[in-house]
Symmetry: C2
Subunit: 137 residues, 2 copies
DNA sequence: TTCCTCAAAGATAATAATTCTTATTTAGGA
DNA sequence: TCCTAAATAAGAATTATTATCTTTGAGGAA
């Protein structure tokens, strides 16, 4: 299944270990931007012999190698995000939910805007929106 | 000087203590979105008798009462932002610098966009941009 | 102005999340 | 199959933050 993942690791010169596979699976299984704690709990259930320190180190190495990114909430809790396409986030002020928001038209709009309006002394690499509000359901 | 600040505290029913004044001054003095640590260090110099716990508690109460806001970054350290007008952030990938970016035209563009393109099941309260890139200076 | 009360501050212990250390194991190339 | 560097396990250490409990003082009332 995760052929893409094995290939990605190899390209970066990282070894394909059972721990890394398990953690990658955990993240793809856990939706909604899990915290390290969520991931550790899930891992504990299915692979009780993987140590906590390893989970942190693996997560770090994934972030370093752009297989994951980190997201921060108001509440100081770090979360991980497995989606690698350019997308934005919806933050719920009531619950702690974070959802992805993809919108090509919006991306285009912003890209065009910044092409026309350069920021002085700053080279833009990426623009992400934090859309805060409330889900109604 | 910080008449606005004293008034704001009173309005919220909060006492105007020397500690709160000192911490408020520290934040207005420290540019670039200081961390709690930055603030504590600054406070220590000028008011060595203010305790660390107090700084955290005061910062929390400021955030709760909308005198400050917290900034989300990918790093796990929380930063504080004293500017309360709607603005965006420039994140430098090289240094850890965060700068404010205000742009009325952009705000208008985004506002109009979301007026025309509602997000399903979500009521937007605020949209902020995280603009990542590099400063060249 | 003085007094009183409750919110706020100080000191420090406790907690929680993450990082570090060191010994051991193992993936994957030779 | 063997070898080596990279990765993991285990648990100690660190760090940031929160909680507790006692003392202090801001600010309203008398």
């Amino acid at each position: 299944m995760s052929e893409f993942f094995r290939k990605a690791l190899k390209e970066k010169g990282l070894k394909v270990t059972p721990q890394r596979v398990a953690i990658f699976e955990a993240i793809t299984h856990l939706k909604n931007h899990p915290t390290a704690e969520n991931i550790i709990a899930y891992i504990k259930k299915n692979h009780p012999n993987i140590s906590v320190g390893t989970v942190y180190k693996v997560l770090d190495s994934f972030v370093e190698n752009k297989l994951l990114s980190k997201v921060k909430t108001e509440k100081d809790i770090m979360r991980y995000d497995s989606v690698l396409t350019n997308h934005h986030h919806l933050y719920c002020t009531e619950t702690d939910r974070i959802e992805d928001y993809e919108d090509e038209q919006l991306n285009k709009l912003i890209e065009d805007y910044f092409k026309a309006h350069k920021i002085k002394n700053f080279n833009i690499q990426e623009v992400k929106l934090q859309i805060t509000g409330k889900f109604n359901n």
